[in-house]
Amino acid sequence: MKKWRNRRSLFKGKDIEIGGKINSETDPLGSLLRQLSLSNDFTQFTYHVNETSLCIGYYTSLIDTEILHRDVLPYLKRWESFASLSSVLPIEEVIITSEPAKIQESLLRGYLFIFNINNLHQVCLVKAGVERTRQVSLPEVEFSVVGPKESFVEALDTNINLVRKRLPMPEFTVKEMIIGKLSKTRVSVLYIEGIANKENVNTVIQRLSDLDIDQIMDSSYITQLIQDNQNSPFPQLIDTERPDRVASVLGEGKVAILVDGAPHGLIGPTTIFEFFYAFEDYYLNWAVASFFRLVRFFAVIFSILVTPIYVAVLTYHYELIPKDLVSTLVTSRSAIPLPPILEAIILELAIELLREAGARLPTKVGQTIGIVGGIVIGTASVEAGLTSNVLLIIVALAALASFTTPVYQMGNTIRLIRFPFLLMAHYLGLIGVAVSFSFLLIHLLRLTSLGRPFLEPFYPPRIQDLKDSLIRLPFSMQSKRPIQEQTEDTMRFNSKQAKEKHNTKRN
């Protein structure tokens, strides 16, 4: 992990400042209170019960005032002694402590404190945190026509609930840890004990606990930080917003990571082919699903290769094209002054511009820009003689094909790796395309996901895992868990019983 040069000074300085004040003075609580009241959203007031005065304090931004008014203040009237507070208050977490560090930490997690002004050595901490999150809503990135329509939200507990209600079993384990010096983000590792490979779970936990970073704002931070090869454009962990997908792959023996504040979970170990699964594939008939998977896979290959092949053929290998086809190309290109590579790069960049503009603008404006820009720029550039009709069709199709990948991050990767292919095609023709393709293959061969090969089940070849890769065979044939995950319990169900159908006799 990279170490920031000024990181130590920043944190150590603060620690010493706080610690020093607390330790040096005889009144640790008082100095803590002074420090807390520097912030304007910290409130502190005295509350008189019988003869004693209680001091109550909290961060207004972190606690639910309703809990304070409904469940704390009324009950304080029955206050007898400090020790009895935990039985008086109708709240499960009431802690009595005197450590300033503990008080400070709890306050920041949505607790409020109560203490007797005459007795500073006992402070009561009451949990009254507020959770402000949005409702569980429709999945937007991985939308499916059939199947469940729940997606993760920004609250970790809600997300775990969404998964756990699909896996009501005690073996389903959640390991939580705190990452980030500043953000103190809760990160959970989810797996099923007895199915998931211990090595995989330990790898994930080890990598997460080794992280040394100040802020974790989203799960994509985690992907970038813990994946095996951080320089590869290919993501090596899948991010998904579908709880059903997470629950399903946990059953296959994978490990999932959920991050507080991120509406996307991470799944690993994974393979490149899993990036071409839409989870809807499992909700459709296996033949239909297999067909769509193949379509998606060939769309990706088409999207990467078609423009470079156009550039290569038109720059160097005219002879490849049969006579009838070449006349079409010649009429389309005859008025164009630019060499094929410039023509292709201009159009590819135009498409990228449209996509980027569409992604940054508000939805409604974005759509308009896409349609208007696409049609107007496309037609105009052909009429102006900057690009040929044929290339316009090819580039538009390639862009369309790159959008078929169900995982958004993979789509980005595919659009990026087109450009090296283009340049090599311009330099070495078809050989350049083949060289780039070999480079891509070797790169994919070298990649691993949590230490497991990324190109599996093609290399290393595992015939058993092919049943759910480029094609998806029926559920009755999926009785074994994939070898990729090296699960502890390899059998999912009895394949014999799965194939039998029992009808009740109709009399």
């Binding site: 049969p322 070495l428 060289v435 070849p461």
Partner: protein, 367 residues
Amino acid sequence: MEEKEFQISPFLVFFLIHSVQLGVGVFGFQRTIMKSAGNDSWMTVIGAGIAVSMIIWIMYLLLNRHQKDLIGIHRDLFGKWIGGFLSLIWIVYWLLIGIIVLRSYIEIVQVWLFPMINMITFCIILLILVYYCVTGGFRIVTGISFLGVLIPFYIFFTFLFPIEYIHFRNLLPVWNHSVKELTLATKDMLLSYLGFSTLLIYYPYLKHPKKSQKWAHLGNLLTGVIYLFILIISIGFYSENQISRHTWATLSMWKIVELPFVERFEYIGITSWILIILPNICLSVWAATKGVQTIFHIKQKKVVIVSVVILFILLGSTVAIEGRENIENLNKFMSLLGLCLVFMYIPFLTLLSFLLSKIRRGNIGKA
């Protein structure tokens, strides 16, 4: 034996053996063997295949006895210095395989695609690929061998196109050449099968080495079948006189392929061939690197430097070879060296290993 996580499944030996045998030789092996054996040369393909299978069997005999790679066996039998020297000869041989494949491929590209191509740049680009593959370790090299067999396999179906123009009568009369001519042609054919000797160095990386033997033989069988298939089609497609004028008969045959959207299929063939020659070069460079590493006890961290040095040697010698004449000469030298090393030295070494162990056992018994 290597650590488990670096080892590969035994059936991958099929691809390792096959991919390193099949290379640029496929483009032009017809002329060399038909020079002496004519229309009977299909027998030489089978004969050479059987001979190679026997050598593979002998290799396994040797390797199974020692459970070590060639370098270790040399050290056991001949001691540090002589053993090291003999190993170095093998390393040079493997490097030469890499050089000859690379140079012949570049020659084909120069003749058929880009006459004006800058050889150094092109060579560097290919060697960067090799470097990227070899530094990934043996699993990656195996991976590219595996994919290098599977992905370009479609290319062999295009040889079905010439079938409608074929005269199978060209094969007749059978057996109109003398045994001497056939033996000569078999010797020439053996060059097209070479490269499988890298088995001697990756043996410790096989998970169940004894189980892998049948896969090695099957890989050799596939090579033989492909050569036989192409040869029979070439014999039927060309006349004997014609074929003696084609340096690359296979490539010329592709000109007949015609699809609605593509003509001049040899361009696509040559392009796809990158994936076929890549395992050739990668495996031989890997074998050389591994050999140097074991002989001189170089640490894993510095292996990168070794492979860079080896690749520079490869680059230098490839660029230095100019013209058809020199390439042909190198080919001749290679086939001689290969024949000596693989077909004479390996059986000799196996015999020696058996004898030495008997003598040593006898000595122990006496003592």
